[in-house]
């Protein structure tokens, strides 16, 4: 990926060996080979701090939040709300009340679809997404459009895997009620020009949701600079636990949104005649939340901040360039996605050999990659393949792991002749 020069110069060098020491899962053998974990776009491994934070919560502070007057509940509440502040700063939001904890990116999108878009989506209205969305940014809109008699419109992408911006402008119209765009494509690695796309949508008076699942581990995100209306991500792709994520929503939107689920904690008062809903973000967090998840996520973010996103981006950018060159050296390989600006994922196919066979042979060499449609079947269709192999990188990957990937791919060639 191309990082601005000034940022590269300012970036500290990542001490990979020291970082790796912090990740217990990386130090194991699979099939008698050292693990080479290159499936980070699916989920990242977790540093010791995150694992310890979850254990500490259960060993010392385990209690419910926003409930008890006793000490443990106070500790749990403080830690949970502090985690919200950590996420707020991480995304560059102005106000912690703009951060809603969710189960992950998928729930964040469903929440916005249900509580923000549904009430304003009428028959014949439109939802606009891109052709490179993950299923999680397609299906919730499809369900909603079906229910409201609305239309799902799709911005096409070109052969490199870039959004065709002229088509985007053309598709934005009076009937468009929301634009949903992935910040970084999980299947292609494309980094979309979301700031410009948000500005274009706003010029038409259309709010925008950004799916940041693949972006937050690799890019500095500033929701105020982007001026997005909603931003969603998952904790587990940024070294945090599974089952936790966050939705950023502009306060003015959250205030007018209806609840997503009903239950405890999202109310101010309940009678059988009616209920007064709590303020955001609590209005959208019905029931006992994933407390240890939020705490673990905050520790993961602290971990990332300690190293610094610019340093991480610089390291991963080198890995991606290195991997791209190494993979292209192997006969019969075709890259899927050659966007101008890419981050951390390399998708490819090998002539005459199915990605699943490649995945199995690489696994036997200790190399873990994703082989399949990456929950982005329309992307696969766009490029005329049923599946791809995807190697995706994290801050703990090394250049010798790229060598292992290349050696594994040569083994594939050897087996298949």
């Amino acid at each position: 990926m191309s990082t601005p020069q000034a940022v590269v110069e300012a970036a500290a060098v990542v001490d990979v060996e020291r970082i790796r020491a912090d990740f217990p899962a990386l130090h194991q053998e699979v099939h008698g080979r050292p693990l080479v974990y290159l499936d980070n776009a699916a989920t990242t491994q977790k540093p010791r701090e995150v694992i310890d934070a979850i254990r500490t919560f259960y060993e010392r502070d385990c209690s419910n939040v926003h409930r008890g007057v006793h000490l443990l509940s106070q500790r749990a509440t403080v830690a949970y709300e502090r985690a919200r502040t950590t996420v707020k700063k991480f995304l560059g939001a102005a106000d912690s009340r703009e951060i809603v904890f969710t189960r992950g990116t998928t729930e964040g999108i469903n929440l916005v679809a249900s509580s923000f878009v549904r009430p304003r989506l009428g028959e014949g209205d439109e939802v606009l997404i891109s052709a490179m969305e993950h299923h999680s940014n397609i299906v919730p809109w499809q369900i909603l459009c079906e229910e409201r008699g609305a239309k799902l419109k799709v911005i096409p992408i070109d052969d490199d895997g870039d959004i065709i911006l002229e088509e985007y402008e053309r598709l934005l119209g009076e009937r468009t009620k929301i634009v949903g765009i992935v910040h970084v494509s999980n299947a292609l690695g494309t980094v979309n020009p979301v700031r410009e796309m948000i500005a274009t949508a706003h010029a038409h008076g259309v709010p925008v949701l950004i799916d940041g699942a693949q972006a937050v581990p690799h890019l500095t995100v500033d929701v105020r600079e982007l001026d997005c209306d909603f931003y969603v991500f998952s904790g587990h792709k940024v070294y945090g636990p599974t089952g936790i994520g966050a939705l950023y929503g502009k306060r003015e939107h959250l205030l007018e949104m209806v609840p997503y689920q009903g239950g405890g904690d999202m109310i101010l008062s309940v009678t059988f005649e009616g209920t007064t809903f709590n303020e955001p973000p609590h209005r959208f967090e019905a029931g006992t939340p994933n407390i240890e998840g939020a705490i673990g996520l905050a520790v993961a973010i602290d971990f990332v901040n300690k190293i610094g996103i610019p340093a991480i981006a610089d390291h991963e950018g080198r890995l991606l360039a290195d991997a791209t060159a190494a993979v292209l050296d192997i006969p019969g390989i075709r890259l899927i996605g050659a966007a101008r600006h890419r981050a951390s994922a390399l998708s490819f196919v090998m002539e005459g050999i199915h990605p699943h066979d490649i995945g199995t042979i690489l696994d036997s060499e200790g190399v873990a990659v994703r082989a399949g449609h990456h929950c982005a079947q329309p992307v696969m269709k766009r490029f005329g393949v049923s599946a791809t192999v995807r190697a995706s990188f994290a801050l703990y990957n090394t250049h010798s792991e790229i060598d292992a990937l290349a050696a594994g791919l040569l083994k594939v060639r050897e087996v298949f002749g």
């Binding site: 199915h354 199995t360 049923s386 083994k411 087996v415 298949f416």
Partner: protein, 149 residues
């Protein structure tokens, strides 16, 4: 590496490269579509059954080497067999892949090359997709399209 040779035996690689009976059958009496949503493998099996005998079988689709070779070898192994015999072979094949002691009397012949798949649980579905599809086609009414996973 030797494990990989065990999995990807010559017969499998050969049938993957040059699948047998791979064509659309215009005179099929039955057919069924098979789909593995996990990996996107797709196979369509065509049958011409006369008096309970599989006179002709063919397929179309795309998938990994295990899936393609398994489909190709399946067409060879059940051609000319009765529907009952084909079902018995499927059972024997399925037992072999899932580690169940093989039933006596089921002759698997070349299908034995898939024994190595047993060591790769996530790939068992690749080897059985065509068989489930065949089963659906055999169970279906004439000319009725059946989908299976």
């Amino acid at each position: 590496m030797s494990d990989m040779r065990e999995l990807y035996q010559e017969v499998i690689l050969d049938h993957n490269k040059k699948p047998r009976n791979c064509y659309v059958m215009d005179c099929a009496t039955r057919s069924a579509d098979g789909h593995n949503p996990l990996c996107g493998d797709i196979v369509k099996v065509y049958l011409r059954i006369e008096d309970g005998i599989i006179e002709e079988i063919s397929f179309q689709g795309h998938g990994c080497a295990i899936c393609t070779a398994s489909t190709s070898l399946m067409t060879e192994s059940v051609k000319g067999k009765t529907v009952t015999q084909a079902k018995e072979i499927f059972e024997g094949f399925h037992d072999m892949l899932t580690g169940v002691a093989a039933e006596q009397g089921v002759e698997l012949g070349k299908l034995q090359v898939f024994e190595g798949v047993r060591e790769y649980p996530v790939r068992v579905k690749c080897a059985t997709l065509a068989w489930h599809t065949l089963n659906a086609a055999m169970d279906g009414d004439d000319d009725e399209k059946v989908s299976t996973e």
